[in-house]
């Protein structure tokens, strides 16, 4: 490098080589940044803005302050939707984490056909959501597979109308989500398990520690960061779930499975109350943001 450049010191270097690199870095990132701003940040801010208006996409917007929020929280249907969403979220997230972890633990063992089983368990998560919902609508039909096996095992002729009665409709959409999702998180847990140094287990074996204690004192603590991430991602995804419940029940029967995303869709795209729909989206955003912040703090605490 020329002496003159070196003599100029850091600032000259930064202005020339480093500054040049930074500018190119910015130019090349610009399309992604613009895309993010236009399709993520702007709609979020716009939804927040619209939530203070009465707006049906045709007539002039009318500023109404927080009236949309007051109307929402004083509406019994919305309050029910709020509650059923939390039931759906935690009723799916907890089993998903447990089943995904359990499957990962089993498939982390050396065994014949392990790769085949991993593929089979992962397969549901690559099937289109709509296809899964349609298939499970048939599975839970009164003449479907679930009733057939239940009657066969219990020696009876009872017909459960899974999707048109409660709480069976809620169970059906939850089971569908769990079946479809656990494979994906199983893979994440597998990666986490494989990052645990084997020397810990070898030392445990030498010390005569049982399998359960190995799991409790080695696997579980070292898997905590992965578990936190998986838990939070399943929860956040569940709050945004729409396709499976909408296709299977359309929020019925009697709006009993109308979780918040379905309420949002109906309010905005069936009733054309865009201001109110925006308010629902803000509520969902705040809930998800709260969980994301909680996850971030938990992760930092663990790292410390």
């Amino acid at each position: 490098m020329p002496e003159a450049v070196l003599t100029g010191g850091k600032s000259l270097y930064k202005k020339t080589i480093l500054g040049h690199e930074k500018r190119w870095g910015l130019y090349l990132s610009l399309p992604a940044i613009v895309f993010y701003l236009v399709f993520m940040i702007f709609p979020t801010l716009n939804a927040f803005y619209l939530s203070f208006f009465k707006y049906d996409m045709f007539t002039v917007r009318e500023f109404i302050g927080i009236k949309n929020y007051i109307t929402l929280f004083s509406d019994g249907l919305f309050r029910w939707s709020f509650v059923v969403t939390f039931i759906y979220v935690f009723g799916t997230a907890v089993p998903i984490v447990i089943i995904a972890l359990g499957s990962a633990l089993i498939l982390n063992q050396a065994m014949r056909g392990r790769a085949v089983f991993r593929t089979i368990f992962y397969l549901p998560s690559v099937i289109s959501l709509v296809a899964v919902a349609i298939i499970f609508s048939g599975v839970f039909n009164s003449q479907g597979v679930v009733n057939y096996f239940l009657n066969y095992l219990l020696h009876r002729e009872q017909v459960i109308r899974w999707l048109s009665e409660m709480p069976s409709a809620l169970y059906a959409i939850m089971i569908t989500r769990i079946w479809r999702s656990f494979g994906y998180y199983m893979v994440i847990f597998l990666a986490g398990l494989q990052n645990i140094p084997i020397t810990y287990y070898e030392a445990a074996v030498v010390d005569g520690v049982s399998g359960w204690k190995q799991f409790r004192y080695i696997t579980l603590p070292l898997l905590t960061p992965t578990t936190i991430v998986v838990s939070m991602v399943t929860v956040v995804n569940a709050f945004q779930a729409f396709t499976v419940p909408f296709v299977m029940t359309k929020g019925g029967p009697a709006e009993r499975t109308s979780i918040l995303p379905i309420q949002l869709y109906k309010t905005g795209f069936m009733y054309f109350k865009m201001g109110k729909a925006s308010a629902i989206s803000v509520v969902i955003f705040v809930i998800i943001a709260a969980f994301a912040i909680a996850q971030f703090r938990l992760s930092r605490k663990f790292e410390q």
Binding site: K54, D56, M57, F58, T59, T71, G76, L77, S137, N141, S142, R161, L163, S164, E165, M166, A169, V247, M248, T249, K250, G252, P253, A254, E255, R256, K266, F269, M270, Y271, F272, K273
Partner: protein, 430 residues
């Protein structure tokens, strides 16, 4: 240098070639400019069958007009239209129900038809071609014609003759006249054949719920809205009509089930799955499209069971063509709609619906169609459906209440009170 020269020459050649091809393409299109009308319809078998004939024929007769016709899934169709029109786009022509037109009108989504372009100096000249009152649901508050119906039909009871015969009944003579007879017949059929006596439209959407439930409520002397467009649902008529639905599904063994997400019951009838259904003349198109040997040529139409034989009530359902306010082809769209309704006899015979034109109902071929007499007789006591600008939300509220009582077996009183309160809030725009 050499490389850049080659690159420049290649690009120049490609550009000249493209321009040449484009110019050639333009010159092939002929001297007259071809206009394109974008036309949307909801998917329904009879209409689809007729439009497969009508649209190509229109383009043959009008070579300067291209009709970009497409069909759309019914459940999301209205949402699609409203979203497209609100964004300044959307089709030039689209079909919809007279009740939903009532929701479009306050939003300013519709353009009046150009009667002058159609050759009429005033509305009454067009009106003369149609049955009295049939165009009223399609007029704006200021009297403009916003749409023309291609199907205005009275819904009556459609019966499967083969299933009736299998239990020793004659569908023409033994069709149920009252609700008690309806339950007797349904139970007998279900017990003997395993086929459903009748299927309510569970899970098929609020539109199907309303068109089946509203006339029941009217039969008991009720209404959905009062004169101030507020809810009139907290009434004895509502309670009795809810009880009727409850009895069909729960009290009597009619075979009626509630598997979500349900399909429309007319489709199930066309497949031979049920002995009776509730439909208009469009049922022939549905039956033809399914082409089940158990139903084709084996059905008849009778009057809908009545609470009071001296005060009959039936529902009048109307679907028609509307013009988008964003359309730049209002004249051409008006002329296409006019051409379409002048083919209505053939439309009726091909399952495209019963256009309420005088020449249709006077036509001997139409008069020979199954159920003609019954559908026509129903016109004397049919009522158009009750509309509101908040049709979707009100419909959902009524559907929820019906599901609460009939499927979840909730106590009717608080459910009806909640429905009343909810619909009133909706009607106030809250």
């Amino acid at each position: 240098m050499k490389t850049s020269k080659i690159l420049f020459l290649t690009l120049g050649f490609v550009l000249i070639l493209s321009v040449g091809v484009f110019a050639a393409g333009q010159s092939d299109s002929g001297a007259a400019e071809q206009k394109t009308i974008v036309m949307w319809a909801h998917i329904t078998p009879g209409l689809a069958q007729w439009n497969d004939i009508a649209i190509p024929r229109y383009m043959e007769e009008h070579p300067n007009i291209k009709v970009d016709y497409s069909e759309h899934e019914f459940k999301t169709y209205t949402t699609k239209i409203i979203t497209a029109v609100s964004g300044g786009g959307g089709p030039d022509i689209f079909d919809n129900n007279a009740v939903t037109k009532g929701a479009f009108e306050p939003k300013g989504m519709l353009s009046p038809l150009n009667l002058k372009a159609m050759g009429y100096s005033k509305f009454e000249d067009l009106y003369k071609e149609f049955l009295p009152g049939s165009l009223e649901p399609w007029r704006s508050k200021s009297g403009d014609l916003l749409g023309v119906p291609f199907d205005t039909s009275i819904w009556q009871l459609v019966l499967n003759k083969k299933i009736f015969a299998s239990v020793g009944l004659d569908a023409d003579k033994d069709s149920p006249k009252s609700w008690d007879e309806f339950f007797d017949v349904s139970e007998k059929i279900f017990a003997s054949t395993g086929k459903k006596g009748y299927q309510l439209p569970f899970g098929a959407g609020f539109g199907w719920y309303l068109i089946t439930w509203e006339p029941m409520q009217w039969q008991f002397g009720g209404r959905v809205f009062d004169d101030n467009q507020m809810s009139a649902l907290d009434s004895e008529a509502t309670r009795k009509s809810f009880k009727l639905w409850y009895d069909i599904r729960n009290t009597y063994n009619t075979g009626c089930v509630s598997d979500y997400p349900g399909d429309n019951p007319v489709y199930e009838f066309a497949q031979g799955g049920s002995a009776m259904t509730f439909a208009g003349p469009f049922v022939s198109g549905q039956i033809t499209s399914v082409n089940s040997p158990d139903v084709m040529g084996n059905y008849t139409v009778a009057e809908w069971p009545q609470v009071n034989a001296n005060k009959k009530v039936a529902v009048l359902n109307s679907w028609g063509w509307l013009i988008n306010k964003n359309s730049k082809m209002v004249d051409e769209a008006s002329l296409l709609i006019q051409w379409y309704f002048r083919q209505s006899v053939e439309g009726y015979l091909n399952g495209g619906g019963a256009c309420p034109r005088i020449d249709v109902y006077d036509n001997p071929k139409v008069q020979a169609e199954t159920g003609y007499e019954v559908f026509k007789a129903g016109m004397a006591y049919a009522r158009p459906r009750e509309g509101t600008p908040y049709y979707n939300e009100t419909g959902d509220a009524i559907m929820k209440a019906l599901d609460d009582v009939v499927l979840l077996k909730k106590d009717m009183e608080p459910v009806i009170k909640q429905m009343q309160e909810r619909v009133n809030k909706i009607q106030k725009g809250e």
